[in-house]
Amino acid sequence: MAYNVLIVDDSATMRALVRKVLKIAGLELGECFEGANGREALEILQHNWIDLVLSDLHMPEMDGAALVKALRQNHLWQTIPVVLITTEGRREVLAPFFESGVQGYIRKPFRPEDIKEQLQTILGEAWVPNDRELEGCDF
């Protein structure tokens, strides 16, 4: 199964990096969409089938918290797995997100292996690694 992934981050550079790491990590990518904030992410979701959302928390216009809330309140989107990729590392800030059904969390700075481990956990048996190796990979 090829996954359509939505990457949401206000840094174009970070979006490019995550996209690259997803390929290296072995996720069978379908289409890879990018949004600079929650509002752009919702627009993409309205017009495309998305299997996985990887989102930053701190973003202008509409942040990750508002995006997660909107996803969980929409019956079409509420089952889409969401993984936070964020500089935020404080438990008291992150706890409400896990209570609202966010499936995973990757703290920046991260290694490619961190993303692979998170996706393997979330996607479980659906994970189909390709033949690329992470060991010694170069960003």
Binding site: G89, R90, F110, R111, F139
Partner: protein
């Protein structure tokens, strides 16, 4: 506090950029040429800024490492974005290490160019001067804002 800032900086540079800074006395003599300064304002019970200053050549090397590109393939916009994102990650790691309450919030990072030869470089209680090969790297915590 400065130890947590140092640990946060080393964590980010080593994990994301494969760059290993050193604490050397001569670091203050390694700031030359065109540079860039990026910082993240932190809002909350106290307001402060966490940021980095470095030469454009070091910033270009970091951006190339970050994106897996050759140095001459990295645009000025990407260089600025990478330095801002670096400041963002250092600030996030610092707040976590300080166990800062959730009332402290990171604001969007900002950046500006800087003539490194026009500044006085001296380490103090609120900044670190580090050496990355032959370049200087300043990490600062500015409480005056």
């Amino acid at each position: 506090m400065i130890e947590n800032l140092k640990a946060a900086t080393f964590e980010v540079l080593e994990t994301m950029f494969f760059i290993f800074p050193e604490s050397l006395e001569e670091a203050a003599t390694l700031f030359h040429g065109s540079g860039i300064r990026a910082w993240v304002p932190v809002q909350g019970p106290k307001k402060f800024r966490i940021g980095l200053t470095m030469s454009l050549s070091l910033a270009r090397e970091m951006a190339a490492n970050f994106l897996g590109l050759e140095k001459d393939e990295v645009s000025p916009e990407r260089i600025e974005d990478v330095v801002k994102e670096t400041a963002n990650m250092v600030a996030g790691s610092f707040l976590r290490r300080e166990e800062a309450p959730g009332t402290f919030n990171l604001q969007p990072p900002e950046a500006r160019p800087l003539d490194l030869d026009g500044e006085i470089w001296k380490g103090n209680a609120h900044n670190l001067l580090l050496a990355v090969e032959d370049s200087g790297l300043e990490v600062f915590l500015d409480t005056s804002h």
